[in-house]
Symmetry: C2
Subunit: 139 residues, 2 copies
Amino acid sequence: MSTDLFPQAHSKHDLERGFALAPRFNADGLVVAVAQHADTGEILMLAWMNAEALKLTVETQIAHYFSRSRNELWKKGDTSGQLQDVVELRVDCDQDAVLLKVRPRGDGGACHVGFRSCFYRVLENGVLVEREAPLHDHA
Amino acid sequence: MSTDLFPQAHSKHDLERGFALAPRFNADGLVVAVAQHADTGEILMLAWMNAEALKLTVETQIAHYFSRSRNELWKKGDTSGQLQDVVELRVDCDQDAVLLKVRPRGDGGACHVGFRSCFYRVLENGVLVEREAPLHDHA
């Protein structure tokens, strides 16, 4: 899906080696975004961005996503206080995924269940095991 | 989309706090997978898995994905030698994303363009800047 907020890459070379951020939004107008803690390297969450969310993230240096369940722009932390200051923004080779290195504000968490990271469960011998305690009770 | 390879969570609590790996595949039968280097914490790539790929990854401890462009199971590294040994597999709160902590074999890279990580470009003042040299020439 094209957008007037970002250019489109006109060749494979431009897409992979070009200087222009030319994200390839999917049929729903979204790219996937991974948020990684800028200091610890921990993967905090995975979410989606539409063109508006990506543009706002670049402009404000605060992570904005698109909530697929609510079908609306989602400034992460607006209600929880877990705003994410963006230290670095990377894009992958075919520009359909974004990596944000962030510092979360508030209690430092990112997950609505109450954990610091959404990836709080490890598969061990076929069973999911929680590897950390929640920062706060399940909302 | 349901599959007979994995159970389905029957409640929000089971999905978020349960012991069963019960991935929520999207309408295309896929979950998104992030591969992170087990030792350095570097995000190497983002790809997709169908139920078969996820099951094979769990069983063999070698990362398997689903290639959306080729529409087939993709044992990463089968041709490049960049097989990924899976050290740890995590799932996120709503079980539609998987995090693999991996050690890549071969030249240690993951990106088809020739870089170690697919996220080799940083956005700086509106321009994409390559932050590392390729491991090998662009195929």
